[in-house]
């Protein structure tokens, strides 16, 4: 499909709709909207105009205009994404929800909150601090990401073992559809089987089916106690084999079970100058339990710790206060940063495999590492099989070599993932970055169903085109 450019006449109309000050065309300013957190420049794409509307009605009017003129529209949040989901692949209009950052309502009686999409996820929990409640849709980018993007990507993160992903907490959405209708999906109802669950279709649709302009989210009582355990194992297999036992033998669902392979641990510890006996460890698990009774949380952590030791853990460290918790989490949190020092160019993946297959993935990663002479650290959320296998550019390779290697190595990685019953993305989304691997992962029938849904929502394919899959 051929899209039309944003002409002066259209700009004038857009100014009419959203107001002069909410229309940006200055190249220096709109450059920021051409990329997300993927470091590689080849995924960037400039918009023609960036709008910062204030209401759903304004967005609806823009969508109607865009349909009439066949101009692509890409929704944009805080651009902390890692798949190119908010990049205007075909130029056109970017709608940034940055001005729509109001808290509409905190409903303590229903334990829900109504928010606009531009609210920073972390701020939600800061607002709730004194109420004893929290929002469990909690990606690692919590300090920067907007709620809207969080919902559009159905973000996961480090607490998904116990709390699941963002979608679980989305009760209702106000959405501007690609054709410019404003629809209310779901609501403050815990149970609802009245027709298709369209709101869950919007969750994780990466901005291809509409723009969220309001969200009703569910709140949970906030746990007051947290205990972290850092368990050192001799190898990956021993570490991973401990994970199911925590739930079967220990009968405990931890908040987080994070996995770090030897390379990740070593690089992070060296970067942090952390003096743990990491040299001996082939892998580490970082397990956290939370709750409200100190005794129970301590007992749970003890059970898990004992299980780790029974399963040949070399050592288990216990972190039950801020100082020690910070120390063990910082090993996990600084892995990406530590590799950036080795090489700023990396492909941060978030493949997901059945949990028990994690150790089986390791030899494949070793093969990829050897074949392409690159480092392939692997860490991530062991509790749900979602792993950040990361391809790190070898500083000796030229950028051209790296681009070739990245493409081939990713294909190898995804092939291995598929063989193990896994798939492309657990939490970052497909966006533009992983689109070309979709056919490798999904059957034509499945992809066609998705295309049918897309067409039903967006007959002219103007809403964030070029993402997830191609229409033809």
């Amino acid at each position: 499909m051929k899209y039309n450019p944003v002409t002066e006449e259209i700009l004038a109309e857009l100014r009419e709709i959203v107001g002069d000050k909410n229309v940006m065309t200055d190249e220096e300013k709109i450059e920021a909207y051409s990329h997300d957190e993927i470091p590689a420049e080849q995924y960037a794409h400039m918009p023609e105009v960036v709008l910062t509307p204030n209401t759903a009605e304004e967005i609806a009017a823009v969508m109607k205009l865009a349909n009439r003129e066949l101009i692509p529209v890409t929704p944009s949040g805080a651009r902390s994404g890692l798949s190119g989901g908010a990049i205007p692949e075909h130029g056109g209009i970017v709608i940034s929800v940055e001005n729509m950052d109001e808290v509409v309502e905190i409903d303590y009686d229903n334990l829900m909150m109504v928010l606009e999409p531009g609210v920073i996820t972390n701020n939600v929990n800061e607002m709730l601090e004194e109420s004893g409640l929290f929002f469990a849709g909690y990606p690692m980018s919590v300090e920067t990401c907007y709620l809207g993007g969080n919902i559009a990507e159905n973000a996961g993160g480090g607490k998904a073992v116990k709390y699941g992903v963002t979608g679980r907490y989305v009760m209702g959405l106000e959405v501007v559809t690609p054709t410019g209708e404003i629809v209310q999906l779901g609501g403050k109802r815990v149970k609802d089987v009245t027709g298709y669950d369209l709101k869950q279709l919007i969750v994780g649709s990466e901005g291809t089916l509409g723009i969220v302009t309001k969200a009703i989210i569910k709140l949970l009582p906030k746990p007051t106690q947290r205990v972290g355990l850092l368990a050192l194992f001799k190898d990956e297999a021993t570490a991973i084999s401990t994970v199911p036992k925590i739930m079967t033998e220990g009968r405990i669902i931890p908040t987080s079970i994070e996995f770090m392979d030897k390379l990740s641990v070593k690089t992070s510890c060296e970067y942090l100058n952390e003096h743990l006996p990491y040299q001996e460890a082939g892998a580490m698990l970082l397990i956290e339990v939370d709750g409200n009774k100190e005794d129970i949380v301590n007992a749970d952590s003890e059970t898990i710790g004992e299980l780790c030791l029974d399963n040949d853990a070399i050592e288990v460290y216990v972190a039950d206060n801020h100082t020690t918790r910070e120390r063990i989490w910082s090993v996990r949190r600084n892995i990406a940063e530590a590799f950036k020092v080795v090489s700023p160019h990396q492909s941060l993946e978030d493949i997901v495999v059945p949990t028990a297959n994690i150790p089986k993935l390791m030899p494949y990663l070793d093969d990829i590492s050897e074949k392409y002479e690159i480092k392939v650290p692997c860490y991530g959320h062991a509790g749900d099989g979602n792993l950040h296998a990361t391809l790190v550019k070898n500083p000796d390779h030229s950028m051209e070599e790296w681009f070739e290697i990245e493409e081939e190595a990713l294909a190898d990685l995804y092939q291995a993932t598929k063989e193990l019953g896994g798939t492309l993305s657990g939490e970052h989304g497909i966006g533009s970055k992983r689109k070309k691997y979709m056919e490798m992962m999904m059957s034509p029938a499945e992809l066609n169903l998705m295309r049918g849904i897309k067409k039903a929502f967006d007959p002219n394919n103007i809403m964030n085109p070029g993402k997830i899959f191609d229409l033809e």
Binding site: Y271, L272, N273, K340, V341
Partner: protein, 332 residues
Amino acid sequence: MDYNGVWTLGEARDGEIKEVSFELLSRGRKLADKLDEELVSLVIGDGITDQQAEELIKSGADKVLLMNAPALKDFIVENYSNVIEDLIEEYKPEIILAAATTMGRTVMPYIAIKTDAGLTADCTELDIEEDTGNLLQTRPAIGGNILATIKTPNHRPQMATVRPHSTKAAEKDESRTGEIVHLKFDSSLLDGRVKKLGFRKNEEDAVNIQDADVVAAGGKGLKKGENFALIRELAGYFEGAVGASRDAVDRDWISYPYQVGLSGKTVTPKLYFAVGISGAIQHLAGMKTSENIIAINEDPDADIFKVSDFGIVGDLFEIVPELNKQLAEEVK
């Protein structure tokens, strides 16, 4: 209470009186004038000449109590505190000020216990309460987030350590006169238990960051230890010192003596560069009283910008080399 006079505890090494001793006199002079009492500088050491003692008088002292003895060449807390306690007993000073240096912060609490005196650490302001004549001592606490004013109503002497470089030494007044009292060292006061076995000076570039007029500090944003070269170069243009945030020290990019902040050193230079430092409360506690703060950081929301007089948001690896380049031209 028949206590009288304001004392400052001078510091000397190898017979040389240190700069902090003169700074203390500025503090002491103000208090002595308000109380209309004598300002005395006590200096203990070995080989300190009258000529040097005269300098203390020119800087505001009315009297210098000078005790020279080979046994007092080195600061050994047990010996120094015996000597000072003995003098307190004899002279009964009303106020004793020392610098909040490794010496002052060691000997003062040791003496305070023995003499039942109230002691306030690391004061930034000192004054005299109008009606009572009590010493009002103001000091930052809880990482500099509060300023507490403290007094010692019923105990004498009133003792305080004063943050070095929190005040300037007075211009020397060549016409000032005063008395130099040569005290005789009573060797029975020698404790003799602790032996000093040696001294190892810091490496060449380790300017004492608390003495420097300009400090250029680097943090986590530098990404690796080698990149401190940028900071060293920057500091070099000002003949300043290099500092670091806790993150940088914890990562072993630079050693602990360079650490600025709550668990490191407090600095109050004329000019402080914070490069790649986000400005955690702990770090701010160590530098936020600097006269001019320049911040360079990638994150526009970094707290360091709240305390900075001039900030540049951006990539430090572009900004600092450019800054060094332009400074090099200026220096030329």
